[in-house]
């Protein structure tokens, strides 16, 4: 790197503040320095709340209304921070462009994608509609959208998430930018789609030579693509350097923590003669979908198709699949939270035909922990009330004092300070909330817990802690888990048996090592490759 060259983007002493309703402003980015050279791939890594997105939002003039930035952002030597919208518009969308985390909502639902790709071309290059459309067609071909000619006339809702992200990329590349900022471009996508999108970005960079800046929490992306890395924590850059140096020899303890945050350890299988707690035979879940003006056309959607499953005491079955595979529906079906056909046996007792009221009796043995720790705790109840609510139903004989003791016990079990039980959920972080949700399940002393993506909404370092907590609780209380997740590294650390699900069907199942070390089915192999293949594609 020669020092005489002007960097493409040069950020100096950048600060970002947000005003809040209380009189204290949030200082989200604290005097950071960053630079990006032409054609380079840089990654900004950090966990949620580290301010990594806000850095680029300020460069693009996209800060929320209550936010402001100070310092300097220079594009090829020209100061662009604080430019009027009009002047800034000659940079954004043409010289520097951005794609976002939310492919489902980042396109305008009311216009065809052809028209939307044309807009930046017409605005920046003053192309007429016909030439812009021809270029849009080229771009769709470039990003690998099948049948691009007809796709120009499609609306966003007619496309999948992966395709929409390709359209976003096409739009971002329309004016041959020098810098493409990708803010968590694959986080909302399934793993196999993630791999495709990353591959595409790598190929496009090779072909077009623009610089790419990845904002991400995913170290896999960093390792595979980035030349240089900035590690951010609470608004500051704590470490920067070449990717290889940082991965081989991290200096800052936060970087070391991030790198070691991959969940470790394995779950041993239970004894072969452990009793079967939960058994499903030929489990089916079908949804009737009606369409047409008077609901005249009906068809069935089979979300879970003929699944057999046996959960032994002390066992963890990992159910793996991408979105729409039916894995969550299977979990709910086994708890009889949805209409189900086939046989479901709990402790050898047939539960598939008993009434809802009779089912309630069994509920305390079966508990459920959800993905979203923000939505699944009532904001108007104190943590203590949330945890002990189930006791009111299942153990009405307990006095208020006894319930309180149980709440203390449960909070201690999940390693939270019991004095927190008089506080409300919004005072807690995502990881703490997930611990509360786990405490709520554990307080009833269940035998089976269905964990539906319990770590997906959490940062890597927090995930690791939750995984360890769940394993400890399992060992201590001899629990059985049904662990539903799309995240293979977490599944590997949690489960001793894995079932791979696709379109409602179990495509492959087996012991964890078997599935991970020697997958047989093509689909499983694709999943593994997408999640663990660390070979750089853009060599």
């Amino acid at each position: 790197m020669t020092d005489t060259r002007t960097p493409l983007l040069d950020i100096n002493d950048l600060n970002v503040h947000f005003s809040t309703n209380s009189d204290k402003d949030i200082h989200a980015v604290r005097g950071i320095h960053m630079h990006i050279e032409k054609g380079e791939t840089v990654a900004v890594v950090g966990e949620s709340g580290s301010g990594k997105s806000q850095v680029m939002m300020s460069a693009m003039g996209l800060l929320a209304d209550n936010g402001w930035a100070t310092g300097s952002v220079r594009y090829e030597g020209q100061e662009i921070l604080g430019l009027s919208r009009r002047k800034l518009n000659s940079y954004r969308g043409s010289k520097m462009t951005m794609i976002f985390q939310e492919p489902m909502t980042s396109l305008d639902p009311l216009y065809t994608i052809g028209r939307q790709i044309c807009e930046p071309l017409q605005v920046h290059q003053k192309m007429d509609r016909k030439r812009a459309m021809a270029r849009a067609l080229e771009l769709l071909e470039l990003v690998g959208i099948p049948d691009p000619k007809n796709r120009l006339k499609s609306y966003p809702h007619e496309m999948s998430g992966g395709q929409r992200q390709r359209v976003m990329i096409a739009m971002a590349l329309a004016n041959n930018p020098d810098l493409l900022i990708a803010d968590e471009p694959t986080t909302a996508l399934d793993v196999t789609i993630q791999a495709q999108i990353l591959q595409l970005l790598a190929e496009l960079q090779k072909k077009l030579g623009m610089a790419i800046l990845f904002i991400t929490h995913d170290l896999n992306i960093v390792r595979r693509f980035a030349d240089r890395v900035y590690v951010m924590k609470t608004g500051e850059v704590v470490e920067e350097g070449n990717t290889k140096t940082i991965f081989d020899n991290p200096q800052h303890e936060y970087t070391q923590m991030l790198l070691s945050a991959e969940p470790e350890g394995r779950k041993p299988a239970p004894a072969a003669d452990a009793p079967i707690l939960l058994e499903g035979k030929g489990v089916n879940v079908t949804f009737n979908i009606t369409s047409g003006a008077f609901g005249t056309q009906k068809h069935e959607l089979r979300a879970v198709n003929n699944v057999d499953l046996r959960l032994h005491q002390g066992q963890t079955i990992g159910i793996v699949g991408e979105s729409g595979s039916g894995k969550s529906t299977l979990g709910r079906a086994l708890l009889r939270l949805t209409n189900v056909s086939g046989e479901v046996m709990l402790d050898g007792e047939d539960m598939s035909h008993i009434s809802k009221e009779a089912m309630r009796e069994h509920r305390k043995r079966l508990q459920l922990v959800f993905q979203d720790p923000f939505g699944s705790l009532s904001p108007r109840m104190m943590v203590g009330q949330i945890i002990t609510e189930g006791l009111l139903v299942h153990h009405p004989e307990l006095s208020a004092r006894e319930r309180d003791l149980r709440a203390i016990e449960a909070l201690e079990e999940v390693q939270l300070d019991p004095s927190m039980r008089n506080r409300y959920p919004h005072e807690f972080s995502g990881g703490q909330r997930q611990r509360i949700a786990i405490a709520r399940a554990m307080v009833l002393k269940p035998r089976i817990v269905v964990l539906d993506e319990p770590t997906s909404a959490l940062d890597r370092s927090v995930q690791k802690q939750i995984v360890e907590l769940l394993r400890d609780l399992q060992e201590k209380n001899n629990l059985s888990y049904l662990f539903i997740s799309h995240d293979l590294s977490v599944v590997r650390a949690m489960s001793d048996y894995v079932m791979v699900m696709k379109q409602g069907v179990i495509v492959e199942e087996g012991l964890t090592e078997q599935i991970f070390d020697a997958p047989r089915e093509l689909y499983t192999k694709q999943l593994m490759a997408a999640a663990f293949d660390l070979e750089p594609i853009s060599a």
């Binding site: 639902p109 920046h124 739009m171």
Partner: protein, 307 residues
């Protein structure tokens, strides 16, 4: 799409039938009859009147007669305004009500829409607070208060506009009624547009448009406003039906010969054919505008499909 319109029109027929039937019997449940005066009529006269208007027949037979007439386009004679048939009364009054209501609607959508967009773009700034204060006043102050105040100001004190009367539909005489009728609607539309615009401007695709460097007017008009129009359209449909079928208060205060008065007068005088006629007119308007709203929805939002 045509098939959908056809289907909707077909389903309108039984709906209308049910509305007419229910109203026919309900209005007759109310005590009193069309010819009950403070001083009772001579029984002979009464009998003759009842005979002429078929009121001496059993109720179900009166119903059949009425339905038969309606199917032949005959809404019957007014019992109270003896020189007119109901059809004549609507023929004269409806165009006037539609004209006044139509302009009020236009004003509501244009002025209210623009104010709403302006307030949304200046959210939590002076224009926003000003527009919302005026809008709240527009909704809360009733039109029988606004009408005399406007008349006093523009008619009496400034002398710019006539104080009342229809004057054969001279333009000057229409201005105050249109404004009085339209003001509360301007207020509602402004509030709705503001709310919808604020939400639209926060959406992710607006961020994309900004990141693409599109000019501000394009972001507002092309990408935010179209989506924000949806809630306004669904309000404007029923509102249009109400505005175009006249307003009792406006017509009474300004002396306008529209049809808004007929509902009240017909009901008070037990003028059965007039009430029924009003019911039919209003029902048809509501059904037509609901259909228009649904079609506009499909036009504005490609995700809405009716086939």
């Amino acid at each position: 799409m045509l098939r959908y319109v056809f289907k909707r029109l077909l389903t309108a027929i039984p709906t209308l039938f049910i509305i007419v039937t229910l109203s026919f019997f309900l209005i007759r449940v109310a005590p009193g009859g069309p010819f009950d005066l403070e001083r009772p009529l001579d029984p002979k006269v009464m009998e003759n009147l009842n005979k002429i208007y078929n009121l001496n027949e059993p109720l179900w037979q009166q119903y059949l007669i009425y339905m038969n007439n309606v199917l032949h386009g005959n809404l019957g004679p007014s019992f109270f305004f003896r020189d007119f048939t109901v059809a004549e009364m609507f023929g004269n009054g409806l165009p006037i009500s539609i004209e006044i209501g139509g302009y009020a609607l236009l004003m509501a959508i244009l002025v209210g829409g623009m104010l709403g967009v302006w307030a949304a773009l200046k959210q939590n700034e002076v224009p926003d607070y000003a527009v919302m204060t005026v809008a709240t006043m527009g909704i809360t102050i009733p039109n029988f208060v606004v009408a005399p105040i406007l008349t006093l100001l523009f008619g009496v004190m400034l002398g710019w506009l006539p104080v009342g009367s229809w004057n054969n539909g001279a333009w000057a005489n229409k201005i105050l009624p249109i404004i009085t009728l339209g003001l509360p609607q301007v207020a509602v539309v402004a509030r709705l547009t503001r709310g919808a615009m604020i939400e639209a401007l926060r959406s992710h695709h607006i961020r994309t448009a900004r990141a693409n460097g599109l000019p501000g007017w394009m972001i507002v008009v092309v990408h935010a406003l179209r989506g924000a129009l949806l809630p306004v359209v669904s309000y404007a449909g029923p509102a249009a039906a109400a505005l175009l079928t006249g307003s009792v208060v406006i017509e009474t205060v300004f002396g306008i010969p529209g049809i808004g008065r007929y509902f009240v007068q017909g009901a008070l005088n037990r003028d059965y054919p007039l009430v029924m006629g009003t019911v039919i007119v209003i029902a048809v308007f509501i059904m037509v505008f609901n259909l228009i709203v649904d079609l506009l929805y499909a036009l504005l939002d490609p995700r809405v499909r009716y086939d």
